[in-house]
């Protein structure tokens, strides 16, 4: 399917309507649907969430655009609702978390491989190995606290092994900023990639900030707090690669184009017919949004929208396992760090660097990500499958207590 961002008109805004019943549709199946259906639902929820976030920010800074933004935003609110409500109620927040990390891994891996700018590709690889580690840590939590196998969600597409340990991912703010692409020379795909990954990471951050405190186990609560902090770093990183000199309307146009690109990618890969119909419908909606914003852009800025949306729509995000690629990056770059906007090796990071001092303080009372996965090796069906009955007697108590002490408080 060939899409032309500026020639395909999509569906007119006034025809983009919903009912409440439509907004709470039948869900996908946690058990029967392909893991990448969940991945797409999670990512597209993030994409629409970013659409709303950007739109509100823009409205607060641009009086003349407020009505136009409000019209599109109302539709995007409902698009996000319909997509997010595709998640089934039997999928616990921790199970959805596993889905979030798989999304980060596989989508970032696809993006990193097709990104033409070598510096930006390097930045994506840096983030990739960090989210990769989060999947492993959350899987350990799920296995060790709830006795559940995260691979029920992952469906063997993504490895559950350590990445760059989260312990060393904590960086000082000055080491989280990266160099931005140049809006005048960057390829369209670079702009679409950056907005996509920024959107995904921002939604991941917000999700953990919302559901983290709903987790009952003490170590789980700490784990969400620690990983949410990294997701905040990732948002900082990914928003900094976007040229801040783009005009508001230019950014809006890129956002809408990113939405088209992502729905197009989803349509290309989706196997669930009901979910595919959602992607197809919203692809048409987004083409309508691009047309609307392009007209606005051209009338306000007096320049051709094709200056921003140049060239044909790039190849879609590849919704498939990137295991071999991720392992290759893991072998070569697990020890990478950041210094300012530079990606460096661990050896280059001095003991007094801002990030080292920052994480030493944060980790000074212990690291939840280390503790939850201490010695953890994923095994099909969970860690307990490898524990023989003879070794199953619980570990000695952490502190001394007598059998009949004073516990009946």
């Amino acid at each position: 399917m060939a899409i032309d961002l500026l020639k395909d008109k999509g569906i007119a805004l006034e025809m983009q309507r919903f009912t409440w019943k439509e907004l709470a549709p039948p869900t996908y199946s946690k058990l029967d649907d392909d893991a990448f259906t969940r991945v797409r639902v999670i990512l597209m929820n993030g994409i629409e969430s970013e659409a709303l976030r950007f739109s509100h920010g823009c409205a607060r800074m641009n009086r003349d655009l407020q009505l136009a933004l409000a019209r599109i935003r109302r539709i995007e609110q409902h698009q996000q609702t319909l997509i997010n409500w595709l998640n089934p109620a039997d999928q616990t927040p921790l199970e959805t978390t596993i889905g979030f990390e798989q999304t980060a891994i596989e989508v970032t891996a696809s993006v990193a491989q097709s990104e033409p700018d070598p510096y930006l590709a390097q930045v994506y690889r840096l983030g990739l190995l960090e989210d990769f580690d989060h999947l492993y840590r959350y899987s350990a939590l799920m296995d060790r606290v709830e006795g559940k196998d995260a691979n029920v969600l992952v469906q063997s597409y993504s490895d559950i092994v350590p990445g760059r340990p989260t312990l060393v991912q904590h960086r000082a703010p000055e080491d989280d900023l990266r160099m931005a692409y140049d809006r005048k020379t960057a390829a369209l795909i670079s702009k679409l990639h950056a907005t996509t990954i920024m959107a995904g990471e921002h939604q991941t951050h917000d999700y953990y900030m919302n559901i983290g405190p709903t987790y009952p186990d003490a170590l789980g609560r700490q784990l969400y707090a620690e990983i949410a902090s990294i997701e905040e770093q990732h948002v900082t990183q990914y928003e900094s690669i976007i040229d801040p000199d783009e005009t508001w309307l230019e950014k809006w146009l890129i956002h809408e184009a990113t939405e088209v690109y992502n729905y197009y990618s989803c349509v290309e890969y989706e196997k669930n017919p009901k979910v595919k119909a959602v992607w197809e419908r919203f692809l048409e909606y987004e083409l309508g949004h691009v047309r609307f914003v392009a007209d606005l852009f051209e009338s306000v800025e007096r320049r051709d929208a094709a200056e921003v949306l140049n060239g044909k729509l790039p190849d879609p995000i590849r919704y498939e396992s990137h295991r071999a690629y991720v392992r290759e990056v893991l072998r070569k770059e697990v020890d990478f760090r950041a210094r300012g906007t530079e990606i460096i090796t661990a050896e280059e990071e001095g003991p007094d660097s801002p990030s080292v001092l920052y994480r030493e303080q944060l980790n000074s009372e212990g690291s939840p990500t280390e503790r939850v996965a201490a010695g953890y090796v994923w095994s099909p069906g969970g860690e307990l499958t490898t524990r023989s009955n003879g070794n199953s007697k619980a570990r000695p108590p952490a502190k001394k207590s007598t059998s009949h002490a004073t516990g009946a408080r």
């Binding site: 006795g147 003490a218 789980g220 069906g381 307990l384 499958t385 009949h404 009946a408």
Partner: protein, 242 residues
């Protein structure tokens, strides 16, 4: 008077009932009298929407396919011979998940024990360790049984999913750092009650399927689970008597 003092010491600042806010709650009631409902009808609307949604919702999930072609042939053959063979695999999958999670549940109970200790007539560490040991043993035995029947022990079956959702509350209680050992034993009681009934069902199903060896093994597990239930009940009774 001493009794009144004891009651005063035992109660706290719970604000959830109307008795702690007599004036405010009177205003609340008064408000409902002035401002009448704006929507006609009653709670039957909830049921009506449930009915609409159910007609479109599909199922939670399906039984996974057999692990190999050979096993698929075997399963098909057995399907002719036996009644509802997939239901057997479904329920077997549910017990695998439940026993694995139960092992972790008792690890959390052991943590609770180590933090707070027990109470007169409550569990000893050795007793909790024994149950933990039994749960793990049952998990391994069920895994072997599933493999022997051509199923995939790592799959989450629909019945397993239902039981996992049901037992989420027990985990939330046992892993919450604020809960006491007796509160956690209430969670264990819920789990053990379900477990007892589920093992009984599994023994029946093994019998109907003609799996005599499995029936014996499941029967032994049921006996252990009955013992767990009796113990948890006794601990809770002892706590009530304190």
């Amino acid at each position: 008077m001493a009794q009144l003092e004891n009651v005063k010491k035992a109660v706290g600042q719970n604000r959830t009932g109307i008795a702690t806010a007599k004036k405010l709650s009177a205003e609340m009631i008064e408000g409902t009298q002035e401002f009448a409902p704006t929507s006609a009808g009653d709670e039957r609307e909830v049921a009506a929407v449930r009915a609409e949604a159910s007609s479109e919702a599909g199922r939670i999930g399906s039984i996974p396919p057999p692990a190999s072609v050979k096993q698929a042939v075997s399963t098909a053959a057995k399907a002719i011979q036996r009644e509802k063979p997939t239901l057997f695999l479904d329920k077997l999958g549910a017990r695998i998940g439940f026993e694995r999670s139960g092992t972790r549940l008792y690890e959390a109970l052991l943590s609770k024990f180590d933090i707070h200790g027990s109470f007169t007539g409550g569990p000893s560490r050795e007793e909790l360790e024994q149950i933990h040991h039994d749960e793990l043993e049952h998990f391994h035995m069920l895994t072997e049984a599933m493999v022997s029947l051509g199923g995939d022990p790592t799959a989450l079956t629909p019945a397993g999913n239902v039981q996992a959702v049901l037992s989420q509350g027990a985990f939330n209680i046992v892993t919450d750092p604020r809960t006491t050992l007796p509160e956690c034993l209430e969670a264990a009681l819920t789990a053990e009650l379900v477990d007892n009934d589920s093992w009984e069902a599994l023994v029946d199903m093994a019998s109907i399927a003609g799996e005599d060896e499995l029936m014996t093994r499941f029967g032994n597990a049921l006996a252990q689970e009955q013992e767990h239930l009796m113990k948890v009940r006794a601990w809770l009774a002892a706590h009530r008597a304190l």
